[in-house]
Each structure stands twice: as structure tokens, then as C-alpha cells.
């Protein structure tokens, strides 16, 4: 369970990013967070991941910090490490023995169709492939909570749908809690059983929309999907 209680965040330069954010996400749920650009979505994820300390409020995760993985906006890969080394890094820092790491990394590379790129550098890969490496790096750590910051936003429409399907399968197969920040209403509706709508900066929760039909791989083509998208759109406050 992820519980955010009265989260507020004011950056040292005085920028108020979040104001009194409250929500609860159940174990094994999938939740989309949507809100206008600059409303504090990335800040919120950093706080959930424990990378930033909120100026007020607390986060309760119910799992060990090491069971939380974060996928950053723009992939967060290290250009100076090969694909293999990027995926291996988190495991290495956890002190997992080399042979065990190798087994994990190679099986992820296979699973994501990246085996032949093991020794390439991120800049040699397409955006979609880099994003898959980002997923692989997070999944290598076997997280129980997966936080994602607009993971698909810089991809073309086809790659994007393919990876949305991938994420859906991932969630169904692994039973982990998924939190997905996105600025795409369709993506939020396709992947989130719950959709948290944030206001413009300073971000606070304006609505939490139930979306029980999410999880169906064919949801995109159904009437319920379109009406849900409409409902979400009406709930999003206009950006200035």
C-alpha cells in the first residue's frame, strides 16, 4: 500500500511544487497520475521513491525502500555504460554475486529482445529500445512497487502502444503495484485502474477516478474506454 499523507513540497528557491497531496494506492493496484505540465508530477514520484524529502507530510510504502523502482522521464540511462552495464548496475550496487547478476541480466535482455545490443551504448539505440532498457534495469531489481515518470512520452505512437501492452502484461504477470505518471489521457485510462488527477502547480489532488475496466488488452477499442477518456478530460482543470 502506498499512502501519501499531507504531502507538500517547496523547493529551496521558493517554488511551491505540491500542496497537501493525499491518496492511497492498494497493493497490486495500477494507478495513473495525470496533470498539466509542471504541476509537480516528477516531484511527487521523487518523494514517493524517497529521493526527495517533502517539506511537509509523510509517505508510507509498506515495503522496504529497496523494493521500490523508479523509471525516470527520458529513460535515465547512463550514456557511459553499455546496455548490459546499465541493467547490471543496480544489482551490482546491491552486492549480488556476479554469476547471479549475469543470469538475471541476460534473461532480461532476452525477454526484452535486446540480447544483441548488450555491448552497445544507449545513444546507439532508438528511443523505444532505450526505454526497454530502462524497464529492464528497473525489473532486474524485482520491485514490488514500480514508479514510472512519463516512460513512453517521447516515443512514436506505434512503439508507444506496444510498450503500453508490455506494461499491462507486466503488471498482470508480476502482481506488483504500478504507478504511472503520464500526460496522455488515453494512456492513463488504458493502464490505470485508478486515475489521480492533479491540479496545475502547486499540484494537489482534484479527483481520483475509478477505472475498473483497465487491465483488458482490448480496452482501447471499446466504448467504455472512450467514455472514460471523456470523463477524465472533463475532470482535468484547464492549464493556464
Amino acid at each position: 500500500m502506498i499512502e501519501a499523507k499531507n504531502l507538500s513540497m517547496v523547493y529551496p528557491d521558493g517554488t511551491e511544487a505540491l500542496r497537501d497531496v493525499n491518496f492511497v494506492i492498494q497493493d497490486g493496484a495500477s494507478c495513473s497520475i495525470i496533470g498539466p505540465s509542471g504541476c509537480g508530477k516528477t516531484t511527487l514520484l521523487f518523494i514517493l521513491a524517497g529521493i526527495l524529502k517533502p517539506t511537509e507530510g509523510v509517505v508510507q510504502l509498506g515495503v522496504q525502500p529497496r523494493e521500490v523502482a523508479l523509471i525516470l522521464q527520458n529513460y535515465g540511462l547512463f550514456p557511459w555504460k553499455t546496455i548490459y552495464e546499465n541493467i547490471d548496475l543496480g544489482l551490482q550496487m546491491r552486492g549480488i554475486p556476479r554469476s547471479e547478476r549475469k543470469r538475471i541480466v541476460l534473461s532480461l535482455l532476452d525477454r526484452l529482445g535486446l540480447r544483441s545490443f548488450a555491448n552497445h551504448y544507449p545513444d546507439q539505440l532508438s528511443g523505444g529500445m532505450q526505454q526497454r532498457v530502462g524497464f529492464a534495469r528497473a525489473l532486474a531489481l524485482k520491485p514490488r512497487i514500480l514508479l514510472m515518470d512519463e516512460p513512453l512520452s517521447s516515443l512514436d505512437a506505434l512503439t508507444r502502444e506496444a510498450l503500453q501492452n508490455f506494461l499491462l502484461r507486466l503488471w498482470k504477470d508480476n502482481g506488483m503495484t504500478m504507478v504511472l505518471v503520464t500526460h496522455s489521457i488515453e494512456e492513463a485510462v488504458f493502464l490505470g485502474k485508478e486515475i489521480i488527477v492533479l491540479s496545475p502547480r502547486p499540484g494537489h489532488v482534484v479527483n481520483i477516478i475509478e477505472n475498473l475496466n483497465a487491465g483488458d488488452a482490448n480496452y482501447r477499442t471499446k466504448e467504455a474506454f472512450f467514455s472514460k477518456c471523456r470523463e477524465v478530460r472533463q475532470n482535468i482543470p484547464p492549464a493556464i
Binding site: 529521493i51 550496487m93 551504448y121
Partner: protein
């Protein structure tokens, strides 16, 4: 992505031949003993190697490499630590005050402190390239995107991991470029520090041949110094290509 530079050894050979050709032309046109032909300099170089030129090259190489290594071993960690705001607040003003000063004028002070032996020569080289490496390393560390740090922290990193996996590798191309540039600077300083109070090194050889008006030997020493610089430069470049392969893709 940067494109590196032209890889073909042939283009280097052509450039070298072109320079030698120009040298020939100039020496024929001047027709003066003060600019001997490349061939006579080549002979003088071979004669020098048969005598003790090799020894002087080694002495000079030792001074330069030692000086750069000494400078780098202080400048690189200090520059990387500038990633931390609190450290940078102290170091940045010091850099900005001391960097633009011509450090070569410190020579008398350095001789006073370290004597007139090898040490003072090495220290002067080190001080001058120290600032070049420090300024570049600091700039690289300060310009590092904080997202890389967040990305690493999200994988459960400690502070040591941050330096090892992010700050150092991200700054390494800039550091090695600074060292490559400092090869040129240190050779120039080398000539200055070897032109007095020593009877060893290429700077001494140049001054000595000059005073005897032995022009082929003078040019042979100059060529030796140029080759030393070129050689060190190429070594650093090789290291750079090896350690920073990701820049050259």
C-alpha cells in the same frame, strides 16, 4: 554525437610530408645556416640519439609526466568534489582569483622553496597545469545533470557509488581533454624551466646548441621536444578512446 577526428594514418603522413616539404622550401629559399634542411637535421638527430639525446629526452619526459601526474592527482579529485555546493563555495572563488595569474612568475618562490633541482621544475609544471585541469574538471562536475544522480539514487546508490558510477565517468572525457591540452602547456613550461640551472633535458640541449651556434643540433633538439609532445599527446588520446569509448560511437 561528436564525430571524433579523421582516422586515416595516411592523412597524418600526408600532413607530415607537407610540413617537411614546406621546411625544405623555406631552407632553400633562406639558404642560411640558421635554417638547415630537414635532412641535415635528421642526420643531426640520429647523431644525437647515438650520443646522449635519448637520455635528455627521458629526463624531459620524466619531468613532464611527473608534473602532469602530480597536478592531476590533486586537481581531479578537487574538481570532482566541486559537485557538492558547499565545497564549490570555497573552491570556486580561489580558482577565479588564482587561475588568471601567470603562475610562471612563481619561479623564484618555487626555487626558494624546492631548490634548483628536478623538484622545483616539476612543481612549476604541476602548478601551471593544475589550474587547467582543475578549472575544466570543476566545470564538468558543475554542469552534470542532476537527473543522472537521481537515476542512480533510485537504484539504491551510496555517495561512493555516485562518484564512481556517475560523477567520475561523466566528467572523464573533459578531464582527459584537459590533460591532453596540458601536455602542450607543460612542454612549453618545460623549455622555460630547463633553460637554466640544469645540464639535463631538452631545454638545456636547445640552449646549449644555440650558444654554440650548432644549428643542426639545435633543430634536432627542437624536433625531439616536438616529438615528445606529440608522443605524450597521442598516449593521452589513446587512453581517452579506451576509457571513453561511449563518446566516440
Amino acid at each position: 554525437m561528436p564525430r571524433g577526428q579523421a582516422e586515416h594514418p595516411t592523412s597524418y603522413i600526408i600532413a607530415a610530408l607537407l610540413l617537411i616539404g614546406l621546411w625544405y622550401l623555406a631552407s632553400f629559399m633562406l639558404d642560411s645556416p640558421e635554417l638547415p634542411t630537414p635532412l641535415s637535421v635528421f642526420y643531426a638527430f640520429i647523431a644525437g640519439i647515438r650520443a646522449d639525446l635519448g637520455y635528455h629526452i627521458l629526463i624531459s619526459a620524466f619531468r613532464v609526466v611527473y608534473g602532469i601526474a602530480l597536478a592531476g592527482s590533486f586537481a581531479v579529485p578537487l574538481g570532482l568534489l566541486c559537485y557538492i555546493n558547499r565545497v564549490d563555495k570555497f573552491i570556486a572563488p580561489v580558482i577565479y582569483l588564482l587561475y588568471p595569474i601567470p603562475h610562471i612568475v612563481l619561479l623564484p618562490l618555487i626555487i626558494l622553496m624546492f631548490g634548483i633541482g628536478d623538484l622545483s621544475k616539476i612543481v612549476l609544471i604541476a602548478i601551471i597545469v593544475f589550474f587547467q585541469i582543475l578549472v575544466t574538471t570543476r566545470d564538468a562536475a558543475r554542469n552534470l545533470s542532476v537527473n543522472y544522480i537521481y537515476s542512480l539514487l533510485s537504484l539504491g546508490a551510496t555517495t561512493k557509488d555516485v562518484y564512481r558510477h556517475v560523477i567520475l565517468p561523466a566528467c572523464l572525457p573533459k578531464i582527459l581533454t584537459a590533460i591532453r591540452i596540458s601536455v602542450g602547456t607543460s612542454i612549453a613550461v618545460l623549455f622555460f624551466v630547463e633553460s637554466f640551472a640544469t645540464e639535463k633535458g631538452l631545454g638545456y640541449m636547445i640552449m646549449y646548441a644555440w650558444s654554440k651556434m650548432d644549428y643542426p643540433a639545435l633543430y634536432a633538439s627542437i624536433v625531439a621536444m616536438a616529438l615528445l609532445g606529440l608522443f605524450l599527446y597521442l598516449i593521452v588520446e589513446c587512453v581517452e578512446k579506451k576509457l571513453c569509448a561511449w563518446v566516440y560511437i
